[in-house]
Symmetry: C2
Subunit: 445 residues, 2 copies
């Protein structure tokens, strides 16, 4: 028996279907136990998938004779989150084609768990977040984390296939260019303060002079005292920047990227989407062309829909919700008033009161997931903008160099990963979209 225990092939639960009627070994955690006296049903997961393992007293006895009792005994003591190694035969579920079960012949327990912290009862969000290291073991959190990893991967895949090179912008940045109110500062040796980055964009704009098309994808930090379902203190951001791309092509790039990611997730993460109970019908509509409106048109539409927004003001979160509940596909809102947008955005040559920018709003009330713009590429104009925004040109000397030595038309955009995951998974709150969320009231575990 020891011999078989060692030499039976260990397989992942996701691959069970390939081993129908074979004897295999699996290793994992028991997340549900049910017993009918003579049969124990164990729900087991190993990170790759989930399976029902069936331990039958009668069949153990016919296999092992006198030794059956010890095996039965160790199986009957199994509790939630007990870690196990099981040998058994793979068979198709008698009623559900395509679903497989394991008929257990041998049981090894790594560790019996004491009563599990996250039992079957309902828990509040604070309790779950305090136990995030265990909460992630639930099927639903597993599915969200898998989809997050999938989205990250498909974004990178699309970017690479379209000529973008990874370029890791620095996190520690020298000066609080746009004020310190939402920045975290650290003491940097003998060089005064350094600040945690909120976006790598300015560095990517320098990088296009080397690599042409670039992106970064890492953590960014906002010391913002916002406590909403859409805010995290630490979140993951993808910034992309491309030389010789102008406003219109910039939006096409964003449209293609979103369509690609949604399409791949729908195809490759069906099971995970079902675990988070995502209605996939709205996602299946995410195909080019998306809706488009200028900021001016959006304001007019919002006023019709009952918003009190005024011409020339930025859209609030509520406005985005109203608008994106009205349309069944993502909406590009372009050409915002220059006053409400960042200094580096290029003015529309046809109407200098607006900039060549876009937000991309996800439907179903989700709101902004992308923001992009063509960048001001004229040195003198850029200096003028810096002054208008009360920014010190000396902090931006290196950045201004990019407009001095071979300036080119260029554009870029950013994606907040967690908001994208929340939309694709259909989640109300971004706190479930990241492994260990950091918020104004939470820095643990």
């Amino acid at each position: 028996m020891e011999h078989r225990m060692i030499y039976t092939m260990v397989i992942l639960i996701k691959d069970l279907a390939q081993h129908k009627n074979e004897t295999v070994k699996i290793r994992g955690w028991v997340f549900n136990v049910r017993s009918s006296g003579k049969i124990i049903f164990l729900q087991v997961r190993d990170g790759s998938g989930f399976v029902q393992a069936i331990v039958e007293e009668k069949s153990l006895r016919s296999l092992h004779g006198d030794k059956a009792e010890a095996i039965w005994d160790s199986a009957s003591k199994i509790t939630l989150e007990t870690s196990v190694e099981l040998i058994g035969t793979v068979s198709e579920h008698p009623k559900k084609a395509g679903e497989f079960e394991l008929h257990v012949s041998e049981v090894k327990v790594f560790q019996y768990s004491p009563e599990y912290t996250i039992g079957k009862k309902e828990h509040g969000p604070d309790f779950l977040l305090d136990n995030r290291h265990l909460w992630i073991r639930s099927e639903r959190q597993w599915a969200i984390l898998r989809i997050r990893a999938g989205i990250y991967g498909y974004i990178e895949e699309w970017l690479k296939n379209n000529g973008f090179t990874r370029f890791d912008s620095p996190i520690l940045t020298p000066s609080a260019c746009e004020g310190t109110t939402t920045l975290f500062g650290i003491d940097y040796f003998d060089l005064g303060q350094a600040f945690l980055s909120q976006s790598g964009q300015l560095y990517l704009e320098a990088a296009i002079g080397s690599l042409g098309r670039v992106y970064d994808f890492g953590p960014v930090f906002r010391a913002e005292k916002s406590k909403t379902r859409r805010h995290l203190t630490e979140f993951w951001m993808m910034d992309a920047e491309a030389a010789f791309v102008e406003h219109e092509e910039n939006m096409q790039i964003q449209e293609k990227l979103v369509s690609y990611v949604v399409d791949k997730i729908l195809k490759e993460y069906k099971f995970e989407l079902s675990l988070v109970e995502r209605d996939v019908a709205p996602l299946e509509k995410i195909k080019s062309p998306f809706y488009r409106m200028t900021h001016k048109e959006a304001v007019k539409k919002l006023q019709e829909l009952g918003s009190s927004i005024e011409e020339g003001s930025d859209l609030g979160a509520d406005d985005e919700t109203i608008l994106t509940n009205t349309y069944d596909k993502p909406i590009f809102i372009e050409k915002y008033p220059s006053d409400v947008k960042a200094f580096y955005m290029k003015r529309d040559p046809k109407d200098p009161s607006v900039v060549l920018c876009n937000d991309l709003l996800a439907p179903e009330g989700y709101g902004e997931i992308f923001g992009g713009s063509q960048r001001e590429d004229n040195y003198d104009e850029l200096v003028k903008r810096l002054k208008e925004h009360n920014l010190k040109t000396e902090d931006f000397q290196w950045y201004l160099d990019t407009r001095k030595f071979g300036s080119v038309p260029h554009s870029g955009f950013g994606i907040g990963l967690e908001r994208l995951v929340a939309w694709i998974c259909g989640l109300k709150h971004v706190r479930e979209t990241i492994p260990f969320p950091r918020m104004i009231t939470r820095k643990t575990p």
Copy 2:
């Protein structure tokens, strides 16, 4: 003419070979200019590659008649780093098969550059680092950054192909578990201090209970006052962790991963390796099996080689250099004395004075690029270790939970991306391996 300027297809320089004898448009920067009076040779790059563009006065005249002079004039004013759009015919180099040139028929200049900061003369490292935003435009830095992106991608590719799921560990962590001397702290709202992560390992150990095999790959921070060619304040680290993997298999995973990455870089980045003048012969030897020795054997070998290292002490950087100059393949050094290693490493059941860990040293004097270990999975043992290392168990309650609820044997390892890039590119200093290096004396640009 305007018509052709708009409708000629824009292509990337790397794709020129596919357009032999066709008329195409390229956009980029001029990084070298040579003129023989009637012919101007422009070296142009666009981020995807490099090409020589030839502007000939005679051929312009035959194409454009009277308008030729204006085109010739704009071409002859081109300086280093001038940004251009060129239309021309692609032809194979008369003497070098497989190399292509562009015979220019039309020239558009986005911006003429003033005298370029980084001219042709030799510059010191401080000057180059002050101008890092421009220095990255050099062929050599372009090649290093491309190889870095390639290495990042192949690490991820191998991990995904082998069942590892991305899991982004948090950067902001609640407590200075192992002392504050090398940690950066920030003021975290009303919750006291938070600290910038040095490794996501402990979080990954919790994640295996959900996802089985996981990795993270992001920036980490060391407030260490080291000023050596191997230290950065901010660097990129990949941590991987796998349930049910023990020490021996952990080393096999590392061996396969390194071999895969080196093999792919040799195949796909030949041109970039030639630009950094890497002798690829030593890299071509990087195949399984690597050398292996225990720490005890390494100390003995080092003493033979003239090191003053004593039994039971950790290897210094000099020791690693001596050792890795002696062998032509990576060396696993396993089973270090438990005193010199971290609290979470599992003791060797056969000799509890050592732990089941390994460093992986790169040849040619490079030293440590990977570090890994099997983790202590017994709750009581782990508590004992924490106390021996003077660590507070209350800081580790959530981590200890992973040894309480279904503890399993598991192992993991970490890669410092910049040291790996330095070795594969054959660089002396890690400062060239990251887009914008942060060191004890530098936080800019």
